[in-house]
C-alpha cells in the first residue's frame, strides 16, 4: 500500500448553467435565471412550476449507439455526459482506460418510472382484479427497467464507453454519496489501487416522486436541479501524465473528514467535527481556508445545523472565509451538488478568485488563501468534508 498525494483535475460539469465550471461561475456572477418549466405536476404543491432542468443527452451527444439508451435512465445519461466532458482532453490524447483506471460514483436512487397516465387510469379501474393488474404490468412495465432502475447502471455505461476496468465503487443516495465517491476514489489512487480514478456524481431526474420524497424528509422549498459533475483523481506527481499534458485546472485533495449526527440536535456538532477533521488532515486550520462551499441544504433543520456549525468553526478566523453555493444557478443537485462545488472550487483555486454570496447577488473577489472547503450533508446526518488546495500564489 502506497500513500501518494492526489491531485484533482479534468472537470466535467453539466447543469442548467451550462457544460463547464466557467459557465457556472459566470452564470452565478451574472445572476441569470436558468430555470425551466416542469411538466406533469398539478395543484398548489409544489409552489413553483419551474426547476433547474437539463436537456436529456441523446445518443449522438453521448457518442453511443441509440440502443444503449434503452438500458439507461436520464440519470445514467447525464452521468455519461458528465464523464465525457471530464475525459474529453484525456480521450483525445488516448490515455483513458485500462485496468489502472477506476470509477467512483455518487448516485441517487432511480425513481421508478410511473406507468403512462392512461395505464394508471386503467390500473385504477382494475385494482380489484389481481389477474388484470398483473396483465397490465406485463404490458406496461418497460422490459429494460429491471436494469435501468438499478442506480448502478450509470457505472456500467461510463465503464463501457471509456474502457475503465480498474477498482470501482458506487454509493447512494444523497449528497454525502458524492463526497464519499471523491474520498474513496482519491484513496484508491493514494493507496496505489488505481493509477487514476474517474470520480463523479449525478442528480436525481426531476420527477413527481422526487417531490414526494423531499416533502417527507423536511423539504424547505429549495428548487431541485438536474446535472452531473465529474473529475479525475490522479497522483499529484503526475504519474498518469494527463493533468500535466492538458494544463487543466487542478488542485490537491489536502484533507477530508467524516462524521455522523443521527438526531437533528446532533447535526451541527457532526458537521463541525467533520470540518475539523478535514482541516486537521489538510494540515491547516480555520485561518487557512479562503473559501467555503456549504452543501445545498434543502431541509430547514439541515440549513440551520450547517450554518451553526460553520459559525462555530470559523468564528475566530481572520479573515472569515466567504461562503457561496451554486444553488441559485443549478438548483439542488443531490449527490452531484458537492462535486459541482468541488469543480467550482478548482476553477477558483486555479485563477486565485472566489465567489461571495452578497444578498441576492454573487460577486467575485480575490481568494485570500489557496484552500477551499466543500461540505456534503446527507439526509440522515451523514457528513463529509474535503479541503482542496491550489498552488500558493
Amino acid at each position: 500500500m502506497t500513500t501518494r498525494d492526489v491531485r484533482l483535475t479534468a472537470p466535467g460539469l453539466y447543469t442548467a448553467a451550462g457544460t463547464d465550471p466557467g459557465d457556472l461561475w459566470e452564470t452565478l456572477v451574472a445572476g441569470k435565471d436558468t430555470r425551466r418549466p416542469t411538466e406533469a405536476l398539478a395543484g398548489p404543491w409544489p409552489e413553483f412550476d419551474t426547476a433547474f432542468l437539463v436537456d436529456d443527452p441523446d445518443a449522438a451527444t453521448l457518442g453511443v449507439h441509440r440502443r444503449v439508451l434503452r438500458t439507461s435512465e436520464k440519470q445514467a445519461r447525464m452521468a455519461l455526459y458528465g464523464a465525457r466532458l471530464a475525459l474529453a482532453g484525456a480521450t483525445e490524447r488516448g490515455t483513458v482506460g485500462g485496468p489502472g483506471w477506476g470509477l467512483y460514483l455518487g448516485l441517487p436512487t432511480v425513481d421508478e418510472e410511473l406507468l403512462r397516465f392512461g395505464a394508471l387510469d386503467r390500473l385504477h379501474q382494475v385494482a380489484g382484479s389481481p389477474g388484470d393488474v398483473a396483465a397490465l404490468y406485463g404490458r406496461e412495465v418497460p422490459p429494460f427497467s429491471g436494469l435501468s432502475h438499478l442506480n448502478s447502471t450509470a457505472a456500467a455505461h461510463v465503464s463501457a464507453v471509456f474502457g475503465l476496468t480498474g477498482a470501482m465503487a458506487a454509493y447512494s443516495p444523497f449528497s454525502d454519496a458524492g463526497l464519499t465517491a471523491l474520498i474513496d476514489g482519491a484513496l484508491s489512487v493514494a493507496e496505489g489501487e488505481n493509477e487514476a480514478a474517474l470520480v463523479g456524481a449525478v442528480s436525481p431526474k426531476v420527477h413527481p416522486l422526487l417531490f414526494a420524497q423531499y416533502e417527507e424528509l423536511g423539504w424547505n422549498g429549495a428548487v431541485p436541479g438536474e446535472g452531473a459533475a465529474f473529475l479525475l483523481a490522479e497522483p499529484a506527481d503526475g504519474a498518469t501524465g494527463s493533468a500535466a499534458a492538458s494544463g487543466a485546472p487542478g488542485a490537491r485533495l489536502a484533507g477530508y473528514g467524516r462524521a455522523f449526527g443521527a438526531g437533528a440536535e446532533d447535526r451541527s456538532e457532526a458537521i463541525a467535527e467533520a470540518v475539523h477533521a478535514a482541516l486537521e488532515t489538510a494540515g491547516t486550520d480555520a485561518d487557512g481556508i479562503g473559501w467555503v462551499l456549504p452543501d445545498a441544504a434543502w431541509t430547514v433543520d439541515g440549513a440551520r445545523a450547517q450554518s451553526a456549525a460553520l459559525d462555530r468553526v470559523f468564528a475566530g478566523a481572520a479573515p472569515r472565509p466567504a461562503y457561496v453555493t451554486s444553488e441559485r444557478a443549478t438548483g439542488v443537485l443531490g449527490p452531484a451538488h458537492p462535486l459541482a462545488h468541488a469543480l467550482l472550487a478548482l476553477h477558483g483555486l486555479a485563477s486565485g478568485r472566489r465567489l461571495v454570496a452578497d444578498g441576492d447577488a454573487v460577486r467575485e473577489e480575490a481568494l485570500p488563501a489557496p484552500r477551499a472547503l466543500v461540505l456534503a450533508c446527507g439526509a440522515r446526518g451523514q457528513v463529509c468534508a474535503v479541503v482542496l488546495e491550489g498552488a500558493e500564489k
Binding site: A40, V68, T109, L120, A134, L150, N151, T180, G257
Partner: protein, 448 residues
C-alpha cells in the same frame, strides 16, 4: 470524525460475527444446515401465483417471519422499509455474536450496507393513480401527499404509508445501524448492482486494513420480490420461467438446462475487525478477510466478455491483493446465477484462472437454493463461506446434473461434502460489469 493519515501499515482483517435472514430462517447456522441437507428456499409466491405472473416462484421471506421481524425492530431504529427490517435483524445477529458491547461509541467503527431502492407494489401505485388527472395528463401531488399525511399508520391494503418515501431510501438502514450500535466513523451505502454486498464488505475491509477503522458492520439487504421487479426482470429474459416445474428445480447454476435466475429476498451481515482489536478483547475469530477486488469492466450493460476475461481479471486481482496463488484456493463460492450468460462467463473465467486444477476445485452455487437476492447475495454468500471454513464442509449446488460445453470440467459440488477448507474465493458479478471477488480464509489467516 475519521482523519485518515495513511502510513503504509496494513492491518489484518478478521470476521468476528455473522448474521443472516433468508426464507423462513433467521439464523446463519440453521440456514447452513438447511442448505447442507439439499433443501431449498425457493417456493411458489402465493400472491404472484394468484395474479397469474409467468414466473411466480421466488426465495421470498415468509410473510409470517417478515411480520415478526418488523414487530421486533426496536423503536429507536426509526422508520425502516422492508429491506431495512431484514438488514436490521441480520446486523443485530452479527453484532451480538461478535461479543462487542451494545454500543461501540467510537469513531473507529463504521457501517457499510448494500441495498437497492425498493419499488412500488400495485396497491401503492393504485393509491397514487387516484390522484392522476388523466385528461389533463397531470399528477395532483398535493392531493396525494395530503392523503399520505392523513394516514396514521401504514396500511398495506390501501398502499398508504406516511413514511414510505423515507423508508424506501437505502441509507435509512445504514444510518439506523450506525446510530444504534454507535459505529459512526464511516457510513457507506453501496449501489453496485448484484456485486454490492461483496463490495460493501470489501470497502469495510479496506478501511480496517488501512487503520482508519477498528470495527465495521458490513453486509447487504434486498427486498425486491415485488410485481414490478419480477415483471421487469422477466421482461428482459433474466428470470427463469416456471413452466409448471417444481420451484425447487428451477435455479440450476452451471447446468446445461439453466434458463435464468430466481429472484430472492434477504439480508446478511458480518462484523469485521482488525485482528489486533479482536484479540485485545478476546473475541472469537471466525475467519479472516484475506483479499478483495472490486472492479469495473468495459463490455456492455447486459453481458460480460464471453471468454470470462473480465471475471478472471477480478479473481486474479483478489488473489494478488491476498498475496495468494490460485493453488492456495480450495473452494469457490460462485456467483452462479443460473443465467446462460453469467455461468458461461464465470465457468470460462474459472478455467482461465485455475487451469487444469479447476476440475478438482470444489465449486458451490448457493443461488440454486437461495435464489438471487441481488445486492444482498454477495454478503449472504460471504456468511456461508465463513461457515464452510468453520465447519470444514462444502454446501451443494442443487439441480446440477449435467454441464454444457463451457461449464464442463468443473467440480460442481452436488452434495454436502466434508473437505479441508483453508481459503474460499467468493465471487459476485453485477449487471453491467461491477465485479467483486472476496477471499475468506481460516481464522489463523491465509497460508500461501
Amino acid at each position: 470524525m475519521t482523519p485518515h493519515i495513511p502510513n503504509g501499515a496494513e492491518h489484518e482483517v478478521v470476521v468476528t460475527g455473522i448474521g443472516l435472514v433468508a426464507g423462513q430462517l433467521t439464523d446463519p447456522e440453521a440456514l447452513f444446515d438447511h442448505l447442507a441437507e439439499g433443501r431449498t428456499l425457493i417456493t411458489e409466491h402465493p400472491l404472484h401465483k394468484e395474479w397469474g405472473v409467468p414466473c411466480a416462484v421466488s426465495a421470498h421471506i415468509d410473510p409470517a417471519v417478515r411480520q415478526e421481524l418488523a414487530d421486533a425492530v426496536p423503536e429507536e431504529a426509526g422508520p425502516l422499509g422492508s429491506a431495512g427490517v431484514l438488514a436490521w435483524h441480520a446486523a443485530a445477529q452479527a453484532w451480538q455474536r461478535s461479543g462487542l458491547p451494545r454500543r461501540l461509541d467510537s469513531e473507529r467503527g463504521g457501517v457499510f450496507l448494500a441495498c437497492n431502492r425498493m419499488v412500488m407494489e400495485p396497491a401503492e401505485l393504485t393509491a397514487l393513480a387516484d390522484h392522476v388527472d388523466h385528461e389533463a395528463g397531470a399528477l395532483d401531488l398535493d392531493g396525494y401527499l395530503e392523503r399520505l399525511d392523513g394516514t396514521a399508520a401504514p396500511d398495506a391494503a390501501d398502499g398508504l404509508d406516511p413514511q414510505r418515501y423515507q423508508k424506501v431510501q437505502p441509507d435509512s438502514a445504514t444510518a439506523a445501524l450506525a446510530d444504534y450500535f454507535g459505529a459512526a466513523g464511516v457510513l457507506e451505502t453501496h449501489a453496485d448492482a448484484c456485486a454490492a454486498g461483496g463490495m460493501a464488505i470489501g470497502s469495510a475491509y479496506r478501511y480496517i486494513r488501512s487503520g482508519t477503522l477498528d470495527v465495521a458492520l458490513a453486509g447487504g439487504a434486498e427486498s425486491l420480490t415485488t410485481l414490478t421487479s419480477v415483471t421487469a426482470f422477466y421482461g428482459v429474459g433474466a428470470l427463469a420461467p416456471a413452466d409448471g416445474r417444481d420451484p425447487a428445480q428451477i435455479s440450476r447454476p452451471f447446468d446445461k438446462d439453466r434458463s435464468g435466475f430466481v429472484i430472492g429476498d434477504g439480508a446478511a451481515f458480518l462484523v469485521l475487525e482488525s485482528r489486533a482489536h479482536a484479540e485485545a478483547r478476546g473475541a472469537r475469530i471466525l475467519a479472516t478477510v484475506a483479499g478483495y477486488a472490486g472492479v469495473t469492466e468495459a463490455v456492455k450493460m447486459t453481458s460480460s466478455s464471453r471468454d470470462g476475461a473480465d471475471y478472471a481479471q477480478c479473481m486474479r486481482a483478489a488473489l494478488t491483493d491476498a498475496g495468494l496463488a490460485p493453488e492456495d484456493i480450495d473452494h469457490v463460492n460462485a456467483h452462479g446465477t443460473s443465467t446462460e450468460a453469467n455461468d458461461t462467463c464465470e465457468a470460462a473465467a474459472l478455467h482461465t484462472v485455475f487451469g487444469a486444477r479447476a476440475a478438482h476445485l470444489p465449486i458451490t452455487g448457493n443461488k440454486s437454493a437461495m435464489g438471487h437476492s441481488l445486492a444482498n447475495s454477495g454478503a449472504a454468500e460471504a456468511v456461508l463461506s465463513v461457515l464452510s471454513l468453520q465447519r470444514q464442509t462444502l454446501l451443494p449446488t442443487l439441480n446440477f446434473t449435467e454441464p454444457d460445453e463451457v461449464t464442463s470440467g468443473l467440480d460442481v459440488v452436488t452434495e454436502r461434502r466434508p473437505a479441508r477448507v483453508t481459503a474460499v474465493l467468493s465471487n459476485s458479478f453485477g449487471f453491467g460489469g461491477q465485479n467483486c471477488s472476496l477471499i475468506l480464509a481460516e481464522a489463523g489467516g491465509a497460508r500461501p
